[in-house]
């Protein structure tokens, strides 16, 4: 609890320096592991969440998406309180969720690339006719921008290799211009080139579109490469905040694991 309070002060100081806050999490408790999670993500910032399995890092996105029961605290997205909002509301507020588990959380595998990309445009119960031509143009823009191969909107999404499938999961959100990217291990099982392209895309989006990103990864080095700020989680609380430029993978892992042994499970 002591540690939690200390980081609260630290986080708010950092966030204040980054200007407008896109995501504010205040003493959020959710699921079995998260308690008193407090941090914020400022506009134009990529924040990483590191933690060993069981530290609560993997419970953050379900909590922020409203998929797990909240036990306290609040979540604000672009100033709006979404603590009790549905997933759909949060997406409407500008959240783009990219999961590394594309098979179960990303793609409709029996459908085409175009279908999967355009799903974020067609995600409503409405009977207004779709302009397939207009959507097709947008879809092709995304395909060429992200170099999705094969560059064929009508190809089944299960045909391309993992990296290109993942580009579909990421690329669909370009159609709606989100404000806040939730990247949940976004390059799991993705080839090196696609991985770099996805990183470059996120960085570009954050830099030019004034959006922000919150990211977890099974690969700590990835977080060090991409993030502006790194939060280390243990026991459902943030135990350290690091500047990726001045830290190493070992240091992060030591903090994540070290705090755990001190806490005494």
């Amino acid at each position: 609890m002591m540690v939690g309070r200390a980081t609260t002060a630290l986080t708010s100081r950092r966030a204040a320096s980054t200007g407008r806050k896109v995501l504010e999490v205040d003493r959020l408790g959710a699921g079995r592991r998260l308690r008193g999670l407090t941090f914020s993500v400022g506009a134009g910032e990529v924040v990483g969440l590191a933690g060993l399995p069981g530290s609560g890092a993997e419970d953050v996105f379900p909590a922020l998406l409203g998929r797990s029961a909240t036990t306290g605290g609040s979540v604000r997205i672009r100033g709006r309180d979404v603590t009790h909002s549905s997933l759909r509301r949060r997406i409407r507020a500008g959240v783009a969720y990219v999961s590394g588990d594309r098979r179960s959380e990303g793609l409709v595998r029996a459908q085409t690339v175009a279908f999967n990309l355009a799903l974020v445009l067609n995600n409503r119960v409405r009977l207004v006719p779709i302009s397939h031509r207009r959507q097709g143009r947008k879809v092709e823009e995304v395909i060429s921008k992200l170099r999705i191969l094969p560059a064929d909107p009508a190809a089944l999404v299960a045909t391309p290799a993992g990296g290109n499938q993942q580009k579909v999961v990421v690329g669909r959100w370009l159609l709606v211009e989100p404000h806040l990217w939730f990247l949940n291990d976004p390059t799991r099982g993705v080839d090196v080139h696609s991985r770099e392209e996805i990183h470059a895309l996120v960085c570009e989006q954050v830099a030019t579109k004034e959006s922000s990103a919150l990211m977890t990864s099974s690969d700590t080095r990835e977080l060090l490469e991409v993030c502006d700020r790194l939060l280390v989680l243990d026991h459902g609380e943030i135990v350290a905040e690091l500047d990726p430029a001045e830290t190493t993978e070992n240091k992060v892992l030591a903090l994540a694991g070290g705090a755990r042994s001190q806490g005494g499970r």
């Binding site: 959380e105 990303g106 799903l119 119960v125 395909i143 060429s144 992200l146 669909r172």
Partner: protein, 354 residues
């Protein structure tokens, strides 16, 4: 994979979207897209419907050879008109199946709507208003009972619709004591037996229903959301699809189609048939069950269903014409259906389905 690695790549820092270096391969593939797409479409159609189509074709050929009256305009028209309700029900069922569900209660919905129609007409409601009310009830009950049970509370669709089916049949029996009622309404009769520009009204209704159903699936956000929800509900939800609403509306459409089928049937027979289960229920189950999980897996099929329905009914009709006893009808129908399903399976074996 090796080719991938050899290809010159932009430096990681270069944003992947600076247009200057967009690969030529991508552009040419996009240019060739319409032709490719057309080809794929045709292939898809043939592949999707091959089993049902072949079975239907064989039946038609055999029956044409053995029965001179089979391939006459009169008989074909009769076939379509008598099975109009089935086609309408199939359209609703298609929606449910694409959403990865199933609706056993749709036949019971027919019986209920016929009964409500009868009661409404008896109490002096104008026929047209009565029809609209019945359709509305079908939609609302489908949405709020089956839809909410399955979409919101997550009850297994089989259990939920089995329950509502029993409930609906029970309600009808309570009201009618199991007897059929005669409906006398000229408006309703014209709905079932009238013609529009020489085309029997039931056929018109069927064509409009299927066209509208197909349009919604292909050209509206709702249709796309249904495919998304059926293909991978979790992924669709995380892409912002209101999956509960989608499931609810799907069962609403099924209810609406059930009610419409009831109206057409009531008009055609000039009666509300309480004991629909003698005819339509087993038949519907028989027809629907074998193929029910295919569109779920494929996620792309829309109206293979109608073809299959037609196959079954052509068979029934043919067996009738051939003078086979009723008892043997089911045996033959069953055998042929199993053969058709087997063919369907075998033909899909080679395909990679994930």
């Amino acid at each position: 994979m090796a080719a991938e690695a050899v290809k010159p790549r932009p430096s990681p820092s270069a944003a992947p979207r600076d247009a200057g270096s967009a690969p030529a391969t991508a552009a040419s593939a996009v240019l060739g897209w319409p032709a490719l797409r057309a080809q794929r479409w045709v292939h898809g159609r043939i592949r999707n419907f091959l089993g049902a189509t072949i079975a239907l074709a064989i039946l038609v050929v055999l029956l044409t050879i053995s029965e001179s009256t089979f391939l006459t305009a009169g008989n074909l028209k009769n076939l379509l008109v008598t099975n109009a309700a089935l086609f309408i029900v199939s359209t609703g069922m298609t929606y449910v199946m694409i959403s990865a569900g199933f609706d056993l209660s749709i036949g019971a919905m027919m019986a209920v709507s016929e009964e409500i129609l009868y009661e409404l007409l008896k109490s002096g409601v104008p026929a047209l208003a009565a029809i609209v009310i019945v359709l509305l009830i079908g939609f609302v009950v489908g949405t709020l009972v089956n839809g909410v049970l399955i979409g919101v509370f997550g009850v297994n669709f089989f259990v939920a619709t089995l329950g509502t089916m029993t409930l609906f049949y029970g309600l009808v029996d309570v009201v009618t004591n199991g007897a059929g009622e005669t409906i006398t309404s000229s408006t309703l009769a014209s709905f079932g037996n009238g013609t529009l520009w020489g085309i029997p009204m039931p056929i018109v209704v069927v064509v409009v229903t299927i066209a509208l159903g197909g349009f919604i699936l292909r050209w509206t956000p709702l249709g796309r959301s249904i495919y998304g929800t059926g293909g991978n509900r979790e992924a669709a939800r995380l892409a912002g699809v209101p999956d509960r609403m989608v499931i609810m509306s799907v069962y609403g459409v099924a209810g609406l189609c059930g009610a419409l089928a009831g109206v057409v049937d009531a008009g055609r027979l000039a009666a509300a048939t309480a004991d629909r289960r003698l005819d339509d229920r087993p038949r519907q189950r028989r027809r629907g069950a074998p193929g029910w999980n295919e569109p779920v897996r494929r996620g792309r099929r829309a109206f293979g269903d109608g073809g299959r329905g037609a196959g079954d009914r052509v068979l029934g009709d043919g067996v009738n014409l051939l003078g086979v006893s009723n008892f043997w009808q089911d045996v033959v129908t069953g055998a042929v259906l199993i053969g058709a399903i087997l063919l369907d399976r075998l033909q899909k074996r080679g395909q990679v389905l994930h």
